[in-house]
């Protein structure tokens, strides 16, 4: 009978948690490597339209982002017309030229011709402001652009 008694006394052996930090560190390193910090805090609504004939944005070349959309809930005081966001702030059409110049100045000289302007534009924006931005980009000779889109069926945009 003593056999059985012994077992009861022992109970469950505690789980060895010595390797827990190792596991957590492994996960941590994975996420540290995979993380791309959000470059800008968006102050606008930015739901991208869908398209299926898309190409990956080449990260080897420098990319600058221009956001256009209606101010989001917290920034309602700026009105409900679509606005341009450059870096972290709302901007006017006339600021686009300066923005491109600043982006170019921060690049190495040999990379300047490869600067791509990624236009992240909310799908509810009208083409007027987009056309103005495009015209402004033409004037500063920033001709490589990319309409950033989500991937999906393009015709589902039209409803």
């Amino acid at each position: 009978m003593s056999k059985f008694k012994k077992k009861k006394d022992g109970g469950l052996a505690p789980i060895n948690t010595a390797s827990l930090p190792d596991i957590v560190f492994m996960l941590l390193f994975f996420f540290m490597v995979a993380t791309v910090m959000r470059e800008n805090t968006l102050k606008i609504k930015n739901v991208l339209p869908q398209a299926d004939q898309i190409e990956k944005l080449d990260k080897k070349n420098p990319v600058s982002y221009i956001y256009i959309g209606k101010p989001s809930e917290n920034y309602k005081k700026f009105g409900n017309q679509p606005k341009i966001q450059l870096n972290d702030n709302f901007a006017d059409i006339s600021d686009v030229a300066g923005f491109v110049a600043a982006e170019r100045a921060s690049l190495r000289e040999e990379l300047v011709p490869f600067l791509t302007i990624a236009l992240k534009i909310d799908k509810k924006v009208n083409m007027g402001i987009v056309g103005d931005v495009k015209q402004e980009l033409r004037e500063v000779n920033a001709l490589k652009i990319n309409y950033t889109t989500a991937s999906g069926d393009a015709l589902s945009n039209i409803e």
Binding site: T17, L20, P21, V24, F25, L27, L28, F31, M32, A34, T35, V36, M37, R38, P49, Q50, A51, D52, Q53, I54, E55, K56, L57, V63, T116, A118, I121, D122, K123, K124, V125, N126, M127, G128, V130, G131, K134, Q135, L137, R138, E139, N141, A142, L143, K144, I145, N146, Y147, T148, T149, A150, S151, A154, L155, N157, I158
Partner: protein, 202 residues
């Protein structure tokens, strides 16, 4: 000084610290999914004479403020645009294009090199519609380029590959085939079917 044994560091809270960092990175991670339609804007040239282009070589696409589509002065459903653009580009009116399979309609474009798609939008057109139209027009070019790639591929040593796959392969750094040959083929296809998409600026 008296010699003191170094006290053992308590590593019990290591897991907590690691967890804290882990959660921080979990929250800040945005898996980037940047992709889109690449376009090149036309440079601003001063007082250039517009080239004389035959009306039949121009395929006009107009999107009005209600996001309705007018193609060659006829209303059209967006679904039909891709095929209409393919028919126009592939028409081969003057018979100079060897790979075209079009109807050879004398009223439509001469050959893919001369065919121009002209896109005009209103200021009130929604961006979503504009992207959808752009997407359909790019798709039309891609359909034709894919077809040509499948035709030209075998004799150049790249069989069973369409144009998009060729482009992907060319960008793939792990692929160790003949990149120059592939680039030449891609450029040839691009030259045979150039993307001549003009946008009207008001």
């Amino acid at each position: 000084m008296a010699k003191r044994a170094a006290p053992e560091v308590n590593a019990g809270s290591m897991a907590d610290i690691a967890f804290l960092l882990l959660i921080f990175f979990l929250v800040t991670t945005t898996i980037e999914k940047d992709s889109g339609i690449n376009r090149k804007l036309p440079p601003i040239e001063e007082n250039t004479e517009p080239p004389i282009i035959k009306q039949k070589n121009i395929f006009t696409v107009l999107v009005n403020k209600n996001n309705d589509l007018l193609v060659e002065d006829e209303p059209m459903e967006p679904k039909a645009l891709r095929q209409a653009a393919i028919d126009f580009l592939d028409n081969n009116g003057d018979g100079s294009c060897k790979f075209c399979e079009g109807a050879k309609d004398p009223e439509s474009s001469d050959n893919p090199d001369k065919a121009i798609i002209s896109l005009k939008n209103d200021r009130e057109t929604s961006y979503a519609t504009y992207i959808a139209i752009q997407n359909e027009l790019v798709a039309a070019y891609n359909v034709l380029r894919n077809r040509l790639a499948l035709k030209l591929g075998p004799e150049k040593g790249f069989p069973n590959m369409n144009f998009l796959q060729m482009q992907d392969l060319h960008k793939d750094v792990r692929w160790n085939g003949n990149k120059e040959k592939l680039k030449a083929l891609i450029d040839q296809i691009k030259k045979e079917i150039p993307q001549k998409l003009s946008e009207v600026v008001e």
